[in-house]
Amino acid sequence: MSLIAFLGAVETGLIYALVALGVYLSFRVLQFPDLTVDGSFPLGAAVAGILIVSGINPFLATFAAFFAGAAAGLVTAWLNVRLNILHLLASILTMIALFSINLRVMGGPVVPLLGEQTVFSGLDGLGIPSYWTLPAALLVIVVLCKIAIDLFLNSQIGAAMRATGSNARMARAQGINTGAYVLLGIALSNALVAVGGALFAQTQGAADITLGVGTIVVGLAAVIGGEAVILPRTPFLSTLACIAGSILYRIAVALALNADFIGLKAQDLNLITAVLVAGAMVLPTVRTPVTRALLKARGR
């Protein structure tokens, strides 16, 4: 694999790290399997894309994507908390609805952004190739998001959110309005995913209606894969695992696609993803006998 291909994989991995952080908030913190992300990722791309094309400042456009994602998350959480629709089904309903909404927002299936101002336009003046500057800028963004989420999860409100997912009855007994925390958490999760979508569209040069397909699986792959590499004992380590998992996933995919002898092509991406996720889910159970054997070898 060439250096440029490697950096490209890191770049995509960093963007999807935002998706992974969002999926971590819903699946792990709130234990709310939320498939809305398949719709909120392209929603972020659509909102940011159409605003940029209309001449709005790209930073403002990305900020708007954040709120659009939060609104999508609120709809899912509201369907679940207030109308008592099963969480999985509620999220599928929002996801399907977002397909239409995204088409409405974009006014068509694609919004080209080539030649438009993006949040990364300022990097062009540095005279460093974009395959270096883009991952560096994204790394800064992702690390800032990680720090913010870590601080949030260790705050009183964040701790209450973790309790909501871990033991809702206990949470209510501690004065936590669990419904409100589900609304807040799922909104935050989808806001992060939408920002990921907005940044993805800006690096790829287009917002596309099909961007969202399989976002949830990629996000889960990052979360689960990251946990296999870094034991998520604290919120700090959990968010670190999300980012590591997302980058490693992209590198693994790039390696698989680059290894000509396997004969894999770009259209095999979803198949590889499914195999990787299944592998990552099995890994923790496989590791135990191996660890045991290692311990035995050391005579313990």
């Binding site: 009183q156 701790a159 871990s166 206990m170």
Partner: protein, 264 residues
């Protein structure tokens, strides 16, 4: 001071599954009283606690805490006045959160939650001091996840969490029933100590007749959703487990073949 007036709770109302868990309970508990509640399975003990904590919604009747009508307050709002320890040691805390995180949640129970850190140095010192009194060595394990603790340890921490901030009534739902006898005795002793020290108004549901007569100042027996026995003071001191058992037989109108109630 707790005032419960003709409280009725029905589950699955209007369906063939309808069950009338509480059929009109009246109970007045003055501040500082420690009430032991006993009754056979299905007598409505747990439903009564759920109604007090806000988890179960009454059809009719009123619940007043210090003259404030809290009948329609949801559980999370009720928690400013009511603290609770569950029967299941796993139910009272979050397994994947650390001891410090769990106690931090309890310490924030009475206030408004903000973006301030959930646990700071001052709180850690406070938690450490509370845990040290358990003499279980937990004061050095603040950052261990709760799931590493035994059932008894978790229940002891749950009791600390329930009493770490002021409340109007402490609800104990057979909180020693799931523990082995030695640990159960320890948790019960700890309960007595904390309740006496803080002069807490307490309602303890128990399955053990001995506990119901030995612990606290008053014994209330529930049967089929009603109060059938309420003894206090001299009358209670004169009662023996056999008397309670006879009372049980009388209300059930049958021989007691379940000697589980005698144990403990």
């Amino acid at each position: 001071m707790i005032d419960v007036r003709s409280l009725k709770v029905t589950f699955n109302q209007g369906t063939p599954m309808e069950s009338r868990a509480l059929r009109g309970v009246d109970l007045h508990i003055p501040a500082g009283q420690f009430v032991a509640v006993i009754g056979s399975n299905g007598a409505g003990k747990t439903t009564f606690l759920n109604a007090l904590s806000g988890e179960a919604r009454p059809d009719t009747g009123r619940i007043l805490i210090d003259d404030e009508d809290v009948t329609n307050w949801p559980a999370h709002r009720r928690s400013t006045l009511v603290a609770r320890v569950f029967q299941d040691p796993m139910a009272g805390s979050c397994a994947n959160l650390t001891i410090a995180d769990n106690m931090g949640l309890a310490a924030a129970r009475t206030g408004r939650r903000s973006l301030r850190p959930a646990v700071n140095r001052a709180l850690r010192e406070e938690f450490r001091a509370h845990l040290a009194r358990l003499e279980l060595g937990l004061e050095n394990r603040l950052d261990d996840p709760m799931e590493l603790l035994s059932g008894g340890q978790r229940q002891a921490v749950s009791l600390l969490m329930a009493t770490i901030r002021p409340m109007k009534i402490l609800l104990l739902d057979e909180h020693t029933a799931a523990l082995d006898p030695k640990i159960a005795a320890f948790v019960l002793e700890l309960t007595r100590r904390i309740v006496a020290e803080q002069k807490l108004t307490t309602l303890m549901v128990t399955h053990s007749m001995r506990q119901a007569l030995d612990v606290g100042d008053r014994t209330v027996m529930l049967h089929e959703g009603r109060v059938v026995l309420d003894v206090i003071g001299e009358q209670r001191r004169g009662m023996k487990v056999e008397d309670l058992l006879r009372m049980f037989e009388k209300v059930r109108g049958q021989e007691l073949d379940d000697d589980k109630l005698l144990l403990g």
